[in-house]
Symmetry: C2
Subunit: 345 residues, 2 copies
């Protein structure tokens, strides 16, 4: 199946137009026309080979939404014309206890990423910066009709990455949730935590984001430009989600947790966390990590978004703006996620 | 009430015989004759002022067991002659949500330690290295009659310190529990985890402790003399309790956790934990801390010990051996806890 998109041909190369073949539709596959593809910061890390050796040419993109164009003979979950979404992985072993529990993101044998990986047939998987996609129906999700489609694309990665820990650690009415960083990830955390009934506080080093944070539903905004400010919030939070990938002094934040509170790492900093053990001991605090979510929970998240009319705040761009968008994403100059219009590839 | 015991008069002074007054029996107080008092490594840290400024003269000791000698007019929980135990704290605010939930160890206003602290009347609290004790009945527990009394004393600190996290993080039949370090704390972790039905693995840098570990109920013993050995145990544990206060390369151990597994700090190292965030993210692992336990859980633990006939392995010493015992404790030369015979003060 002939496709057009954007690819990088090496770690120091820009995104350039690229034509390639996707596999023919298998019995359990769905093909779809891509409406929008989000630009995730991890796309940039991989395209620039900052996370280790990468497979080139690489078509990045794992926040993908579109409309079904064809279904394989055994497909039961989708029909032509329906909205469809694909996220960070397109396959997993399907047999380990994690896969059987719908936690494919933690598959014992390693999930298959949507790009920068070999698919089950040994071909390089090509991601969502393109006009079409082919995927096994088990690794795609339904998208509620009421949601504005451009803002849906980032839900497939940024959205589920925040929704999953909020649910896992029980954010609910009465919870006090902190969100560190108000970017592509953090702004989804604010929206979800608020919709779950929590009291939400944003910690950001950019005081200029206060108005946006409150508009998105945050109850409080704390500028971390002066770290001493944090002392006023000690022992107040049930759950803190750290979406910041900069290397922060984590003890200042762990202290903000109540007894039995948990700080969850979402962003991946270049250095390890340095955690004062006494800060953990004296209030049975936890520091944890979480990555994306499984297929059932991704569907649950999208249904939740449909019910609460939640989408990501996005800037829609055309394909020829993608390299500029990369630079602006690295500079945190985006409110709050770029999505590429699928018609422009 | 006249008492005899051992005190240190300064950070660089040895334990010496000491006579002092305990408060008169209040309406809600119980007095008791101390049968045995355990030597906890934290006694040494405080007596030597290694944990910050201390109150001298100091009578250490917070693993205390004895027999009730008198009860105040309003006491309902104890009768003269009964076994009684006191642990790490003798009071707390009683009004915060932690106290009301029986989690006095995390009291919002700070529990009152058994020594090296001022009691509610502003007097220096004197610990368990002595022949008598006076305590508010709400902060004392019952000791099952079937348990060998010397081995009970360490249950009041070392015991509850391991029991509480095992219960909190759900160690049960089918769980895989790791215990790092086989000392006063670790050996209680092995006994409790086994009695709870878990499969238990001991990690120790002392290969000579293997026989003891297996005798106590451990299913496996891993010598950490060669850290490469740990690679064989990755992703196998639901819960790991780190009782070691030496500064270890913690990532090697965090990797041993399964998806959703938790490593709990029990020991307090001099340096922060350095935690690789990717190791947390990729399997939703947690690193947490826990300290002692509340009064209700301490009673539950003692009842559990009574049912399973669990006590600490101890060396009973007389008071005049206490300074030597301190040195041997620092050198990890004790199997597995010293307890001072209360008749020898």
């Amino acid at each position: 199946m002939q496709s057009r998109g954007l690819a990088v041909h090496g770690a120091n190369s820009p995104l350039v137009p690229f034509e390639f073949e996707r596999r023919e539709l298998g019995a359990n596959d769905v093909s779809f026309d891509i409406a929008f593809a989000g630009i995730c910061h991890s796309d940039i890390h991989q395209a620039r080979e900052e996370w280790g050796p990468a497979l080139f040419p690489m078509v990045p993109g794992h926040e993908i939404v579109g409309h079904v164009s064809a279904t394989g003979s055994k497909v039961t979950k989708f029909a032509v014309g329906q909205r469809i979404g694909v996220g960070v992985f397109i396959d997993s072993c399907r047999t380990c206890d994690k896969c059987l529990a719908g936690l494919q993101q933690y598959c014992d044998n390693g999930m298959t990423p949507t790009y920068n990986a070999l698919d089950s047939e040994g071909n390089v998987a090509m991601g969502g910066y393109s006009n079409t996609f082919v995927v096994n129906e088990d690794y795609a999700v339904h998208v509620p009709e009421n949601l504005s489609l451009p803002g849906v694309a980032p839900l497939l990665c940024a959205g589920i990455t925040l929704y999953s820990p909020l649910k896992h650690w029980g954010a609910t009415s009465g919870s006090h949730v902190g969100v560190m960083g108000l970017g592509g990830l953090g702004h989804m955390g604010v929206k979800f935590a608020k919709a779950l009934g929590a009291t939400v506080t944003v910690f950001s080093h950019s005081p200029g984001k206060k108005a946006d944070a409150l508009l998105m539903g945050a109850d409080h905004f704390v500028s971390t430009a002066d770290p001493k400010e944090l002392k006023n919030y000690e022992s107040q939070f049930d759950l803190i989600l750290n979406t910041v990938s900069a290397n922060l002094e984590m003890n200042l934040y762990v202290k903000l947790l109540k007894v039995d509170g948990t700080l969850v790492a979402i962003g991946l900093p270049s250095k390890p966390y340095s955690i004062n053990v006494g800060t953990l001991l004296t209030a049975r605090r936890s520091v944890a990590g979480s990555q994306i979510g499984g297929i059932p929970e991704t569907q649950e998240m999208l249904d939740f978004c449909g019910k609460h009319n939640i989408v990501s705040d996005v800037e829609v761009i055309s394909a020829d703006y993608a390299n500029t968008a990369y630079d602006r994403t690295v500079a945190s100059d985006v409110k709050y996620r770029f999505v590429i219009d699928g018609k422009t590839f």
